[in-house]
Amino acid sequence: MAKMPAKTLSSEALRQFHDWVDEYPNKRSMLMMVLRLVEEEFGCIDDDAMEIAADLCGVNVAHVQGMVTFYTHFKRPAHGKHRFMVCATLMCALDGNTDQALAQIRAKLGLKPGEATPDGLFSCEKVECLADCDKPPVIQKDDEHFCSMKGPALDAYIDKLLTAEGKTSEQYLAATPVTMDLRVAVLPVHYNFEGEQNVGARRFDDKDPYFAPGEGSENGSARTTGVPPALKTPLTAPVAGGALNPSNAGHGANGTSGGQHG
């Protein structure tokens, strides 16, 4: 029996996905944005999120894993809830700016770059250029961007976060930080669907991702259709308005076959 992801996308996120469908020539090209969508939805990109993204974009999970490990800005489960990204490229590192910011984070949270607190609330890492080189050091904390972030401003900001979480600096300085492990898990066999032979592979048509818009595959199902096939990921709530495109008869048939997997 196929394993279903434990998580499901909210209907708002699915609606956003369906809004994007018209914007992209094929589903695979939506992957960057879909990964952002699941990242926002679940707070980070874990195995389930990768599977949902693969499902939505019609690529295999291994491809999504390849993407997530290639692009370093995606938030992963190993990262802390509050993820500090400190620019360590030359322009920021000049005059010891990066060193100072890292030293301050270490003094407050006991974290060296590449480490997270044991409770998973905070993590610290060095990243490459964040493109605001005239105001070093540049720090990103999740979606927040800070320039000239050192000295009292940085201390006050970390204190604010600590207070909001109900933690103290001493707690973290006493604890042993954990090293972040950003590797992805090898897919277990039960990720396969029934009857599927290739371990770790999914039955999605990823043969030629470079179909030009308008070109279809041989069995006539155009990859560039404006309406995606039914999702194998169950909906948490029905999408308002019912079927997305009632005129598309083939769509319903797809939906039935997709349902069998559940």
Binding site: R28, L35, Y71, G114, V127, C133
Partner: protein, 481 residues
């Protein structure tokens, strides 16, 4: 050059032989004109200053070929780094293939030292959007992708909002400006990969894959996004299009030099009093730029070197800076490049070994890993640079650095290997004595001591890594994340 020549001093006769100096035309910022005004990113603000009028006038009305001709005449060169003439690139777009043509706008801006596109995207996104509309009409494309780096969160929000506003106003859509010109604009976010600033790497990323560059030829203009003809331009280039179409080619050519006409946004970082973004006519002297726009060096420091065009550009020494003007040819003549216009000033206290180690660490981290010379070469350069930085280098390691760098150039799919090798070769050429100083003498190696201990006593070294004055260590250690 032209701007620094006093107009009151005509060349001595025979006048026919001397090159006629270009008249000095006062310049005020064009693209960055409104970025300091509050709400400059909103549609109301943009419409109030005549926004979208140029696009409304030309879309569906003007012959697209004439727009390409204007841009070609203006001599506009790509602002992303390579400096390829934009109009010529548009002319290469494959016609009659039966496939749709795409415009891909490169807002990845990953070259360290560059932060100009950030200002356009965050503070004036409609300006970019109007350029996109005009460009799409000129190259007859119905779909534009704007690729932003994932770190531009505010930029993405504002650009996305701008696209929605423009769509609601009917500037973009099935009938743009009410004309029979369907246009879609799609904003794609990257996620922290330097290589996606390379044009084919960016296209791979838009297609939903790892940002692997593709071999050229075929060039994107023939077979790019989804194997369709694609024009790839930088954000600043596209923002320029509106102004050139509005004011004409001659207006653009009144600034700059003959081969580098126009103006450009330069980003100034490092040891100057007023770092920031400045839009200046091409051809002004580097000294003027640093001293007048940048306010000169910070107190108590002197100029040691300048990185003129992003981290991958070879360095300029103070003597070269004196000779340098800010245009493509002058910098190429000095063995460097204008690149993306990210100018970083290094002061006399910067430890060049830690600077090159930091640089090499960057390229090793960002190599996509497709080509062996780059994947392995950047790793070798980083390790050898670290050995020099830490004072563990053996005799011959410096020559090995030069050898590895030489053999990386021109042997890979994209130019990242060259981008890593160029600064290394330039550091070796200009600062070879500093490398040699860090080669450990045999007696130190035996005693477990390093040459570095002799150069910088351990106690002093501890203090300088945290921002104290003195020798600055920017290598940032071996632990990479």
């Amino acid at each position: 050059m032209a701007e620094t020549t006093p107009p009151a001093a005509p060349p001595a006769p025979p006048a026919s032989e001397a090159p006629k100096p270009k008249p000095v035309v006062p310049f005020s910022p064009v693209i960055l004109k409104h970025i300091h005004e509050p709400n400059a990113h909103t549609l109301e603000h943009y419409l109030a200053r005549g926004g979208y009028e140029t696009a409304r006038k030309h879309v569906g009305e003007t012959d697209p070929a004439s727009l390409v001709a204007i841009v070609k005449d203006s001599g506009l060169r790509g602002r992303g780094g390579a400096g390829f003439p934009t109009g010529m690139k548009w002319g290469f777009l494959a016609k009659g293939t039966g496939k749709p043509a795409y415009l891909a706008v490169n807002g990845d801006e990953s070259e360290p030292g560059t932060f100009k596109d950030r200002h356009i995207l965050e503070k004036d996104p409609h300006q970019l959007l109007e350029g996109v509309i005009l460009t799409c009409w000129a190259i007859q494309s119905n779909h534009a992708f704007i690729y932003l780096r994932g770190e531009f969160i505010l930029g993405y929000q504002r650009l996305e909002a701008a696209v929605k506003e423009a769509r609601a106003k009917g500037f973009i859509g099935e009938k743009s400006f009410g004309k029979d010109f369907p246009l879609k604009v799609t904003v794609v976010r990257g996620a922290g990969a330097y290589i996606c600033g390379e044009e084919t790497g960016m296209l791979s990323s838009i297609e939903g894959g790892r940002g692997y560059p593709k071999i050229k030829p075929p060039f994107p203009a023939v077979s790019g996004l989804f194997k369709c003809p694609t024009i790839v331009n930088n954000v600043e280039t596209i923002a320029n299009v509106t102004h050139i179409v509005k004011n004409g080619a001659d207006w653009h050519k009144q600034w700059g030099t003959e081969k580098s006409p126009g103006y450009k946004i330069f980003c100034l970082a490092g040891a100057v009093k007023k770092p920031g973004v400045y839009e200046v006519p091409l051809g002004i002297t580097m000294r003027e730029f640093i001293d007048v726009y940048g306010g000169g060096m910070v107190e108590g420091r002197t100029l040691k070197a300048v990185i003129p065009g992003g981290l991958s550009a070879p360095l300029l020494t103070p003597e070269m800076v004196d000779k340098c003007t800010l245009d493509y040819e002058s910098l190429a003549g000095l063995g460097s490049m204008l690149g993306s216009g990210g100018i970083t000033v290094l002061h006399d206290g910067v430890d060049m070994m830690s600077a090159i180690y930091n640089t090499m660490r960057f390229y090793h981290h960002e190599s996509c890993g497709q080509c062996t010379p780059c994947r392995e070469g950047t790793g070798w350069l980083e390790k050898l640079a670290h050995k020099h930085h830490a004072g563990h280098a053996h005799a011959g390691d410096t020559d090995l650095l030069a050898d590895v760098a030489k053999n990386m150039r021109g042997r890979t799919i994209c130019v990242l290997a060259d981008a890593a090798a160029m600064p290394m070769q330039s550091y070796l050429q200009l600062f070879r004595p500093e490398f040699d100083k860090r080669v450990a003498a045999p007696e130190y190696v035996e005693k477990g001591r390093t040459a570095r201990d002799e150069i910088t006593p351990a106690a002093k070294r501890e203090s300088v890594t945290h921002g104290a004055p003195g020798v600055l260590d920017v290598g940032m250690g071996m632990d990479r994340v």
